[in-house]
């Protein structure tokens, strides 16, 4: 109830600001809504949203699986950590824009370049978090699985993975919020479709209703996915404390 009220206040503020600033600079909510409806009717809105979501999903899965594997390795094997650490620090501090631009220069303005660039931006976060999780794995439980000769894969699935779950969830969470932001930049710079591309077009045409229509629907979709998918998933994964009894 309070959230709805807060949302209403936001809309009201927007409306008043629009009246004061003039619709050329800030169109009022109905104008933006009308644009959303026309874009939706033509199907363009769904096309661009869909394309963007697909890129997010691909880059996210790629970065999470690769990042978790590298993070686990670096957490377990000291040599891997020493070799990988400089790379990790470089990647962590490389601006997203640099990675995207370089990817487009080296691989052309292609889908592969876009998705790889997004994944590379997210990768180090997953590596760092899973590495930290791996470092604090309970050695007491490791000893238990060794003595009882529990096969490696079973032990990984039932003993290691539940301990890593909160760290993987945290990596997914922070990584996803990063991917949401970067995907639009990658699209703006080098893709012929997607929400980021539409925002770029709207920017060039000073088409503010269109800009707001796309960015607000995108934000709404992100919000929906976060509340419906990510948060319950995270809550489920973090049910158990990482320490064993």
């Amino acid at each position: 109830m309070l959230r709805l009220l807060s949302l209403a206040v936001l809309l009201g503020t927007w409306w008043i600001a629009a009246l004061m600033a003039g619709s050329a600079k800030l169109p009022p909510p109905p104008a933006v809504l009308a644009t959303v409806i026309t874009e939706a009717e033509s199907g363009a809105l769904f096309l661009h949203l869909g394309v963007t979501l697909a890129r997010v999903a691909l880059a996210f899965v790629l970065a999470m699986s690769l990042g978790s594997a590298i993070g686990y390795l670096m957490g377990r094997v000291r040599l891997a950590n020493r070799l990988g650490d400089p790379w990790l620090i470089l990647l962590l501090n490389l601006p997203a824009l640099v990675v995207i631009v370089l990817a487009y220069i080296w691989a052309g303005l292609t889908e592969v370049a876009a998705i790889a660039a997004i994944a590379i931006n997210k990768l180090p976060i997953a590596v760092v978090m899973v590495r930290e999780g791996t470092r604090v794995l309970d050695t007491a439980l490791d000893e238990m699985t060794t003595v009882f000769a529990i096969p490696r894969w079973r032990a990984f699935r039932h003993v290691i993975l539940p301990q890593l779950a909160p760290y993987i969830a945290a990596a997914a969470r922070s990584g996803l919020s990063l991917v949401w932001k970067i995907v639009l930049v990658a699209e703006l710079l080098g893709r012929p479709n997607g929400v980021g591309f539409e925002i770029g077009v709207a920017f060039q045409l000073f088409d503010i209703p269109r800009l707001l229509a796309y960015s607000l629907t995108f934000a709404a979709v992100v919000l929906a996915i976060e509340t419906v998918l990510v948060q319950p998933f995270e809550a489920r994964l973090s049910r158990w404390p990482p320490r064993a009894a």
Binding site: A140, L141, E143, M144, T146, V147, F148, A149, I150, R154, H158, V159, P162, R239, W240, P241, R243, A244, A245
Partner: protein
Amino acid sequence: MQLEVEIARKAFTNAAGERHDVLVDFNFALGTGEIAVFVGPSGCGKSTMLKIIAGLDHDYQGRVVCPAGARIGMVFQEPRLLPWRSVDDNVRLAAPQADDEKLSALFAVLELTAHRNHFPGELSLGLARRVALARAFAIEPDFLILDEPLASLDDALAARLRDQIATLVDSRSVTTLLVTHDMDDAIRLGDRVFLLSPRPARILAELPIRTPRNARGEAEIAAIKAEIARRTNGDCAKGDVL
């Protein structure tokens, strides 16, 4: 199954870089089905010895000989259960091949039947220990290693669990190593009692107990205790062992 242990030397290096001997010339052999109890003061190196025998620590001089493929069931000082799995699943994870009937019987002996669907977080220490014990027995081990299974339980509970352990080890032929600092437990459970010195641990004396476990009365236990006191007098600080 037979077990031969010859640990010439086991040392730890502390943070300052100094090496400390934990075990020196630690030799013994156990026959099939024998229950060996090791009694020694806290911190003398008992757990270290168990870790070496369990194959968790390879950094020592000497050798541990046991038949290839021997199954080891172990109860650690802490229960070491998975908090995200129920009691039943914790046991089945270690013993996937255990059949339902045998498991039910095992849970019944340990009075865990009512707790099979509980999670470790819902159990008291005494119950969690029994689950760890159930896990060790469920794999039908050739060797059973018990590291202070009765520590920090109140007397009544410890006595119950001790009887349950006795019932279980008597019902199957499993070579057992039990570590304790409680002389009473040692005499009530062991076939052979090894008395250990303070660190670095050596075997001070070995004491066979020939009376069957269920025939050991209070008088007999007192007599064995007196015998141990006589044999260890002067060789090791009284307060430490007895």
